[in-house]
């Protein structure tokens, strides 16, 4: 609590300071004639260092923009701090970014618990934060003027997946396996509330696990015993792979297994669980994967990632970060007149069903900061995530799911 209060005070001071900066140097913090400083925090080391790919994706797009003349003549510079997925380190890093590095904006801070710890500091500072790396509802509903979502909202995703399981797979009895943490419980509640409203559909079994668990045999047993028409798994990648392995062992892979995109969208799942084991898993992606996408810019993404990093870095995380960086830059391009925090936020809120990024469409208005509300359902087949149909749109205001 003390930390939060201090952080909040620091943030406030910083906002004033930035106004002073503007007076003395004619620009707000992080902006010079030649440069725009942008900050991010996320795990670069530690148990979930996989998410360092987010930094790589942003950096690759910034390099691409800089190689092509920058944003209105200014080069983008990314400063990324490693928080090891620890809230205390995230707060420290964020404070340094805003107060010492004096970045103009924050892009794609990774993680729900880490973002939660920095939320007050960011709100108080009023610094623009684009594409938060969490789909938790509380950060975008009700909206905060300077905080913009991007990840498909977890709760909306669970609702969309229930709709898919019931209306596209025809399931009536659903079993749910959920991770017992903030992320899992939020998605579980969303799924349960949706199922409750559907006639003739019931939850046959709920099983839980912790992200650090190693033995999933008990959960797999419970799921098989429940004889559901489909299983919805709300989890991160490692538990998703581990539970699927147990289901495979029990010969129960014929039950449709639908995994939240957080746990299923990365192709590394084939490697983790085993190609045969992961075969048939249904999951979602926030965009068409770079392998199947017909988006005009997709080659630029693959070329730049390979140039700046390695081929192994291609995948959902860098793609998502690349798309978020595209949105960040589009906001900068749309600013008319002086580039300030206020003018930038105003420019972002003019994005309405914008299709210029590798996401299907992005919308930010003064009432909606969700960002991406369209998913692609995919199925694991022969080591690839193959699309099932076209984009699936979820309308947050009506709760309606549309299959295109």
């Amino acid at each position: 609590m003390v930390l939060l209060v201090l952080a909040a005070c620091g943030g406030e001071g910083n906002a004033e300071e930035s106004t002073n900066n503007k007076k003395s140097s004619a620009y707000v913090q992080g902006i010079t004639d030649t440069e725009i400083l942008v900050g991010t925090t996320g795990p670069q080391t530690g148990p979930v260092a996989e998410y360092d790919k987010v930094r790589k994706g942003i950096q690759a797009y910034f390099n691409y923009v800089n190689d092509n003349g920058g944003v209105k003549g200014r080069k983008l510079k990314l400063i990324a701090y490693d928080d090891q997925y620890q809230p205390a380190k995230a707060v420290q890093g964020m404070q340094r970014l805003i107060e010492e590095e004096k970045v103009f904006g924050i892009i794609f801070p990774v993680g729900t618990s880490t973002f939660s710890a920095t939320e007050e500091l960011l709100k108080e500072s009023k610094i623009p934060v684009v594409g938060i790396g969490t789909g938790a509802t509380k950060f975008v509903d009700p909206i905060s003027p300077n905080i913009f979502g991007m990840q498909f909202n977890y709760a909306n995703e669970a609702k969309l997946m229930v709709d898919y399981i019931v209306n596209q797979l025809g399931a009536k009895k659903i079993a749910i396996a959920y991770q017992n943490d903030d992320f899992g419980i939020e998605t579980l509640e969303a799924a349960l509330s949706t199922i409750k409203k559907l006639d003739g559909v019931k939850v046959e079994k709920e099983v839980s696990f912790l992200s650090i668990d190693q033995d999933y045999s008990a959960q797999a047993q419970q799921l098989v015993q429940a004889k559901p028409d489909a299983i919805l798994m709300l989890a991160t990648p490692v538990p998703a792979a581990a539970l699927r392995q147990e289901m495979y062992k029990l010969g129960a892979t014929d039950i449709p297994f639908v995994v939240s995109l957080t746990g299923g969208q990365d192709k590394n799942q084939f490697n983790l669980a085993g190609k045969d084991v992961w075969e048939g898993v249904i999951t979602a992606m926030p965009f068409a994967s770079y392998e199947s996408s017909d988006h005009a810019d997709i080659d630029k993404y693959t070329e730049q990632i390979k140039k700046d990093f390695t081929e192994e870095d291609l995948g959902a995380l860098t793609q998502s970060a690349w798309g978020t960086a595209q949105v960040f830059v589009e906001g900068l391009n749309r600013v008319e007149g002086d580039l300030t925090w206020e003018s930038y936020i105003k420019a972002l809120e003019t994005l309405e069903n914008w299709e210029g990024s590798i996401f299907d469409s992005i919308t930010y208005t003064s009432e909606n900061h969700y960002g991406n509300t369209t998913l692609r359902m995919v199925e694991a087949k022969n080591g690839n995530l193959e699309p099932i149909g076209g984009p699936v749109h979820y309308d947050p205001s009506t709760g309606k799911v549309t299959y295109k």
Binding site: P43, T45, G46, P47, V48, A49, E50, D52, N180, S208, F209, L210, I212, D213, Q214, D215, S217, A218, Q219, Q221, Q222, Q225, P237, V238, A241, A242, Q245, Y248, K249, L250, G251, N268, N271, L272, A273, G274
Partner: protein, 290 residues
């Protein structure tokens, strides 16, 4: 259904037991609790993975080479870090092995990164059904291998001269030295063996936990629990302790919830220690040391 839960528990329990065996061996002989045991196992597993993926060696060759590395690692760790301060207070030794834990964890992250990757099984093959229980050939291998290793170590301690020397060194270093036992050599051997056992545990569990620097975090906790339950000085005790913890933990996961697995496991240990303070198999040895 319960049979499946029990069998799965035994398989995991064997891994906990294997990891505990190395710790027990080191503690039993050199009186040092090695908190870095899990991280050493993880490093060895990464080395095996390097042989498999980078040099494309067959599994058995990679396994054997990794074990050779394990023995070297154990010996080097003892000679470089532990020997110089062996006569120091127990707390210094604990802090040292905790420091090694941090160093190995950090180094592995720097060298191999933190992204999880898959690790091959010792025996590939589809699961098959025995009665109502599904089991994979690899799981059968894990159980048999663990039991063989446990018996081998038990025999080593009980029936060989080296075992006698190890027991003597554990009882009284100076008296052993005076009786002509090369205590340093015995300790180097113990650490090499302990590290090797950890390596075996690491390579056998990696297909399930996936290979990453934090893969042994929970295994180490459960291995400690297994060792404590078994009395911390008994080889069969470590493996049986592991099996009890594996099965009990799995039953808790099934009937109560996986969130409470570790809580119940440690509750069980507290209950056992209240009833039998030296653990299930630690009685005689403990009294001897006193």
């Amino acid at each position: 259904m319960i049979a499946q839960i029990v069998v799965s528990g035994i398989i995991f329990g064997c891994i906990y037991g294997l990891a505990a065996l190395g710790m027990v061996l080191i503690y039993k002989t050199s009186d040092i609790v090695n908190f870095a045991q899990g991280e050493m196992a993880m490093i060895i597993t990464f080395i095996a993975f390097m042989f498999i993926s980078k040099y494309e060696l067959p599994y058995i060759a990679s396994f054997a080479l990794a074990l050779l590395f394990a023995a070297l690692l154990g010996a080097i760790v003892y000679i470089l870090f532990l020997k110089p301060i062996q006569s120091s207070t127990p707390i210094s030794l604990i802090v040292l092995t905790l420091g090694l834990y941090m160093i190995f964890h950090g180094l592995a992250g720097l060298i191999w990164g933190h992204s999880p990757t898959s690790f091959p099984r010792a025996l590939e093959g589809s699961p098959f059904q025995i009665g109502s229980v599904f089991i994979t050939p690899n799981e059968i291998f894990v159980v048999i291998f663990t039991i063989c290793l446990m018996l081998l170590l038990f025999a080593l301690f009980r029936f060989t001269k080296i075992g006698l020397a190890m027991r003597a060194a554990a009882q009284d270093m100076m008296a052993s030295e005076l009786m002509g036992i090369k205590v340093t050599k015995i300790f180097v051997l113990t650490w090499a063996l302990g590290s090797l056992l950890g390596g075996v545990a690491g390579m056998l569990i990696a297909p399930t936990t996936f290979l990453h620097p934090s893969m042994m975090a929970e295994v180490l906790i459960m291995a400690f629990a297994a060792a404590v339950l078994g009395g911390f000085v008994s080889m069969p005790g470590a493996v049986i302790g592991g099996a009890i913890i594996g099965v009990f933990g799995n039953l808790v996961s099934y009937f109560v919830g996986s969130e409470l697995r570790i809580v119940f496991v440690f509750l069980l240990i507290i209950v056992v220690l209240i009833i039998r303070p030296t653990g299930l198999f630690g009685g005689t040895q403990y009294i001897k040391k006193v």
